[in-house]
C-alpha cells in the first residue's frame, strides 16, 4: 500500500465515521468504547494482515499528531462541562482523584513487574525507562470513557443521578493522565531541543505553553474577529500549539489539553468555540485511532505475557478501589452495586490516544508496550463494560428500556 492509497483510506475512514455520527446511529452501531477504528487499524497493521508498513505509517505521523492534538483540545474545552451544564466541583475533584488513583495503581504494579523482570537495571529512582513505560501505561489505563457511558445510557434510555454521576466522573478523570503525560515525556531528554533543561521546567513549560496559547486564542476570538474568522483563528492557534510541541518532542496531548482548558476558563465564547471545533473532531479522531491501531505490533513488546495480565489485573484492582470509594461517598452509586466495577472498566479514545502519543514519541519497545497495553485495556473494557454499565443502571432503577425491546420498537416504527 503506498502513501496515496493510505491517504485515501484515511479520508474514507473519516468520511464513513463522520456520516455514521451525523446520522446519530452510533448509539446502536459500532463498539461501546468508540474504538472501532482501532480494531480496523489493527487488522490492516503488521500483526494481522500486514497491509501497512512502518515506513508508510511514518508518512502519516503529522496527521496522527494533529488528530491527537485536536482530541486533547476538545477534552480541554469540555473539561468541567457536560454539554452546557457545569460539572459540580466535588465531582470534578472526585473524577480527577479516581483517574490519578487508577494511574498510580496500574503504574506501580507495572513498575514493580518491570523491575522484577530487569533486576540488574539502575537504582529504582533512576530507572527512567521503566518509569516512562509504567507511567505511560498508568496514564493510558486511567480513564473510564464517556463514550461507553453515553452509549449504554442511550441504548437503555437511562437518566438519573447515577447516569449523571458516571458521565461527570468519566469526564473529569482525564485531567491527571493528560497532564502527567507531559511529565513522562520529559524524563528522556527531548531530541528536538538544543539545550538540556530540567524535566520539571520542561513540564511546567508545556503546561505554560498550552495555557498561554489558550489565552492568546481567547483574546483573538473575543477582541474583534468576525465569526467567519473564528475557525481560522482556532485552527491556526491549535496548529501552532501542536506544531511547537511536536517540534520540541514534548507532549502534544498535554499542550493541547492545557490550551483547551485555558481557552475554556477565560473565554466567554466557549460554546461558539466548541461548536466550531467539534465538526473537525470525528474526521481527525478517526484517522488518528486508525493509525493507532495500525501501529500495534505485539512482536515489539518485551515480556508481553507478563505485562498484559499484570496491567489488566492492576486496572481491575484500581477500578475496584474507585468503585468502592465512590459507593462509600455517594448513596446513589451504592444502589448500582457490584456491576459498577466492570462498568468502570470501559476505556477507548483517550487511552488509545495516550498509547499512540507514546508510540510516536518513543518508537520501539517503550512506545509499543504502552500502546499494546492501552489496546488490551480497551478490549477488556469492550468485553465487560457495556454489560456492567447496563446492569448497574438497571439496578439503580434508571434504565427505562431494554436494548432488544428498543430495537424491536425502532424496526416496527
Amino acid at each position: 500500500m503506498n502513501a496515496l492509497w493510505g491517504m485515501m483510506g484515511l479520508i474514507a475512514a473519516a468520511f464513513v465515521g463522520s456520516v455514521l455520527v451525523a446520522r446519530r446511529s452510533h448509539a446502536r452501531h459500532g463498539l461501546a468504547s468508540g474504538s472501532g477504528p482501532v480494531l480496523a487499524g489493527f487488522l490492516i497493521g503488521p500483526t494481522a494482515l500486514g497491509l501497512v508498513t512502518p515506513g508508510l505509517l511514518e508518512v502519516f505521523n503529522p496527521l496522527a499528531q494533529v488528530g491527537l492534538g485536536w482530541l486533547a483540545l476538545i477534552l480541554g474545552l469540555d473539561y468541567g462541562w457536560l454539554d452546557r451544564r457545569r460539572i459540580p466541583t466535588a465531582r470534578l475533584i472526585g473524577g480527577t482523584l479516581a483517574g490519578l488513583l487508577t494511574m498510580a495503581v496500574v503504574g506501580a504494579a507495572t513498575f514493580a513487574l518491570l523491575r522484577r523482570l530487569h533486576p540488574s537495571g539502575p537504582i529504582w529512582w533512576q530507572d527512567t525507562t521503566n518509569w516512562i513505560v509504567a507511567g505511560g501505561i498508568g496514564a493510558a489505563c486511567a480513564e473510564t470513557t464517556r463514550h461507553a457511558v453515553r452509549w449504554v445510557a442511550d441504548r437503555v434510555k437511562a437518566s438519573g443521578p447515577v447516569t449523571e454521576l458516571l458521565l461527570d466522573v468519566s469526564d473529569a478523570d482525564d485531567l491527571g493522565p493528560l497532564l502527567l503525560c507531559g511529565a513522562l515525556f520529559t524524563l528522556q531528554p527531548p531530541a528536538g531541543l538544543r539545550w538540556a533543561t530540567h524535566p520539571g521546567v520542561l513540564w511546567a513549560g508545556q503546561i505554560g505553553l498550552g495555557v498561554a496559547i489558550g489565552l492568546l486564542t481567547a483574546l483573538l476570538v473575543s477582541r474583534r474577529f468576525r465569526s467567519r474568522s473564528l475557525w481560522a483563528v482556532l485552527f491556526g492557534t491549535s496548529m501552532v500549539a501542536i506544531g511547537l510541541a511536536v517540534r520540541a518532542d514534548l507532549s502534544v496531548l498535554t499542550v493541547a489539553f492545557c490550551m483547551g482548558l485555558g481557552l475554556s476558563v477565560v473565554s466567554r465564547h466557549r460554546q461558539a468555540i466548541r461548536a466550531a471545533v467539534l465538526p473537525g473532531e470525528v474526521p481527525l479522531r478517526l484517522p488518528a485511532l486508525l493509525l493507532a491501531g495500525a501501529r500495534i505490533d505485539v512482536a515489539q513488546v518485551p515480556f508481553l505475557a507478563w505485562v498484559i495480565p499484570t496491567v489488566l489485573g492492576a486496572r481491575v484492582l484500581a477500578k475496584g478501589l474507585v468503585a468502592g470509594c465512590a459507593a462509600l461517598v455517594s448513596p446513589p452509586l451504592r444502589r448500582a452495586g457490584a456491576p459498577l466495577l466492570p462498568g468502570l472498566m470501559a476505556c477507548g479514545p483517550t487511552s488509545m490516544s495516550i498509547g499512540l502519543a507514546f508510540a510516536l514519541r518513543f518508537p520501539g519497545p517503550i512506545g509499543e508496550t504502552v500502546l499494546v497495553s492501552a489496546a488490551a485495556a480497551t478490549v477488556l473494557g469492550e468485553l465487560v463494560a457495556p454489560a456492567g454499565l447496563r446492569a448497574a443502571l438497571r439496578r439503580a432503577g434508571e434504565a427505562t428500556a431494554e436494548p432488544a425491546a428498543q430495537a424491536v420498537v425502532e424496526v416496527a416504527a
Binding site: L4, M7, M8, I11, A14, F15, S18, V19, A22, N61, P62, Q65, V66, A191, G192, L193, R194, W195, L209, I213, L216, L219, L220, V221, R223, R224, F225, R226, S227, R228, S229, L230, W231, A232, V233, F235, G236, T237, S238, M239, V240, A241, I242, G243, L244, V246, R247, A248, V265, V266, S267, R268, H269, R270, Q271, A272, I273, R274, A275, P283
Partner: protein
C-alpha cells in the same frame, strides 16, 4: 474620533501585540529547537494561517486586499526574511497548494453562469483575442528591446533571442485565477467588471495552454537549430484538453449527484479531490485545473446545487487560501528579486501598459459599459502559478538560458502578484461593485456565555 473608531484602533493594536507574542513564540521555537524536519510544517502552517489572518485584518483599513496581506506575511515570515518558516516547512506545505488550486478551479468554474457568459460574450471574445495575441507580440517586442538588461540573453544569437522573447510573451499573457477569486471572495463584488474578469481569467488558463503549444511549435526551429517543424505538441494537447473536459463533465455530474443525494462532509470530498485525485490525474497526464473548472461549471449550470457547492468551497477556502498565498509569499526568492529588480520592474511596467492598451481597444470594439472600459484591465494584472509553471517547463527544456529566464519570471510574477490584487480591489471599490463591508468585528459569536 468616535468611541467606536477609538475602540477599533485599540483592538488593532492589541491584535498586533498578540501577533508580536506569536512571532516571539516562533523565534523562541527556532532558537530552542533543531532546524529541519517534517514536524516544523505543523507550526509553520498554524503560524502562517494565524499571522496572515491578523495581518489581513489590520491592513484592511489601508485598502490592501487580504491576499496581498497573506503574501506579505509569507514573505516576512519566510526563509529569506525572518526565517520563522524554513525551506523544508514551505516544501512540506506544498500539498496544500494542490488543494487550494483545486478549490479555486472548482469555485472558478462554478462562478461562471451561462447566462452571464452569453451577456458578456462580445467583450470576452475581443478581450481574449487582443489580450492574448496583441499583448504577447508587444511583450515579445519589449523583451527584445530590453535585452541589454537581461544578462541571460547576452551570448545568444538574435534568432534564439526572438524565440525566447516569444516564450516570454506567453508567460506575460498568463493571469491568476486564484488572485481574482481571492479578491472577489473578499469583496463579494457583483457586476460587469467582476463577471468579465472572472470569465476572462478562467478561460485564459485554457487559451494560454493552447497558445503555449502553438508558440512552442513555432519557436522550436528558432531555439534548436536543425529541429524540424512538428505538430506533435498539438496532438498531445488535443488529447489532454478533450480528455480533461470529458473527465471534468463526468466529475461535475458526480458531484452534483453527491450534493443532491448525500450532501454531507463536502470538506472531506474536497480534500480527497485536492490531495489525492490531483496526483492521480497528474500521473495520467490530464490537466486537473481544467477538469475542476469544467466540473464546477457543470455543477453550476447543469444542476440546482451551484449555490450550495460554492458556499461549501468558500467555507474551506477561508483557511486554505490564507495558507496558499502565505506559502506563496514564503516561496518568493527575495534575494533574487533584489538582483533582478530593474529589468523585472521594466518588464512589469510594460506588461501593465500593454494590458491597459489592449483593454482600451477591445472595450471600444466590443462597445463595453463605462465601468469595463475604465477598469477592465485591472483584474488582468495579477499573475501566479501558471506563469511559474510555464517558466519551469522552459527551464527544464532549455537549461542554458532557461535558468535566467525562470528567475526573471519569478521576479516579475512577484511584482504582479503584489500589485495586481491591489489594483483589482481598488477598481472594484471605485466602480461600486464591492459589496458593503459590514464590519461585524465587534459582534459576539453565537453561544456566548458568562466567563467563569
Amino acid at each position: 474620533m468616535s468611541s467606536t473608531g477609538e475602540s477599533r484602533k485599540v483592538n488593532r493594536g492589541v491584535e498586533l501585540l498578540l501577533l508580536g507574542i506569536l512571532v516571539g513564540l516562533m523565534v523562541l521555537a527556532s532558537t530552542a529547537t533543531h532546524e529541519g524536519g517534517r514536524s516544523h510544517a505543523l507550526a509553520a502552517l498554524g503560524f502562517l494561517l494565524l499571522a496572515g489572518t491578523v495581518v489581513a485584518n489590520v491592513l484592511e483599513r489601508l485598502g490592501i486586499p487580504h491576499l496581498t496581506a497573506y503574501l506579505l506575511t509569507g514573505m516576512a515570515a519566510g526563509p529569506y526574511a525572518l526565517h520563522l518558516v524554513d525551506h523544508s516547512a514551505v516544501q512540506d506545505l506544498s500539498p496544500i497548494n494542490a488543494l487550494a488550486l483545486s478549490l479555486i478551479s472548482l469555485a472558478g468554474g462554478a462562478e461562471l453562469r451561462i447566462s452571464k457568459l452569453i451577456s458578456a460574450a462580445r467583450s470576452l471574445l475581443w478581450a481574449t483575442l487582443l489580450q492574448n495575441v496583441l499583448v504577447l507580440l508587444l511583450m515579445a517586442g519589449a523583451f527584445l528591446a530590453l535585452r541589454l538588461l537581461l544578462p541571460f540573453t547576452a551570448d545568444l544569437p538574435f534568432t534564439v533571442v526572438v524565440g525566447v522573447a516569444l516564450l516570454w510573451g506567453v508567460v506575460a499573457i498568463t493571469r491568476s485565477p486564484s488572485a481574482t477569486l481571492g479578491v472577489l471572495s473578499q469583496t463579494g463584488a457583483k457586476g460587469p467588471l467582476a463577471t468579465f474578469t472572472l470569465a476572462f481569467v478562467m478561460a485564459s488558463d485554457v487559451v494560454v495552454v493552447i497558445v503555449l503549444a502553438l508558440v512552442f511549435t513555432v519557436t522550436r526551429p528558432l531555439l534548436e537549430p536543425g529541429a524540424a517543424f512538428s505538430l506533435r505538441a498539438f496532438r498531445e494537447l488535443g488529447h489532454e484538453v478533450i480528455g480533461s473536459i470529458a473527465l471534468g463533465s463526468t466529475l461535475g455530474l458526480l458531484l452534483a449527484a453527491y450534493l443532491r443525494f448525500v450532501g454531507r462532509q463536502l470538506v472531506l470530498v474536497f480534500v480527497a479531490l485536492g490531495l489525492v485525485m490531483t496526483q492521480v490525474l497528474d500521473y495520467l497526464r490530464f490537466d486537473w485545473l481544467l477538469i475542476f473548472i469544467t466540473a464546477g461549471f457543470v455543477v453550476q449550470n447543469l444542476s440546482k446545487q451551484g449555490d450550495k457547492f460554492l458556499e461549501e468551497i468558500e467555507r474551506l477556502g477561508e483557511i486554505v487560501y490564507v495558507i496558499f498565498f502565505a506559502t506563496a509569499g514564503a516561496h518568493l526568492d527575495l534575494p533574487l528579486l533584489t538582483q533582478l529588480w530593474p529589468a523585472a520592474l521594466a518588464l512589469t511596467l510594460c506588461r501593465g501598459g500593454f494590458t491597459w492598451f489592449a483593454a482600451r481597444i477591445s472595450s471600444r470594439l466590443a462597445n463595453d459599459p463605462p465601468t469595463l472600459r475604465r477598469w477592465g484591465w485591472t483584474g488582468l494584472v495579477s499573475q501566479a502559478g501558471l506563469a511559474l509553471g510555464i517558466a519551469a517547463k522552459i527551464q527544464k527544456e532549455h537549461p542554458g538560458y532557461g535558468t535566467g529566464f525562470a528567475a526573471m519570471a519569478v521576479a516579475t510574477v512577484a511584482l504582479n502578484e503584489l500589485v495586481g490584487p491591489i489594483l483589482f480591489k481598488a477598481a472594484l471599490d471605485r466602480s461600486g461593485e464591492s459589496a458593503a463591508q459590514v464590519d461585524t468585528e465587534e459582534s459576539t459569536p453565537a453561544g456566548a456565555e458568562p466567563a467563569r
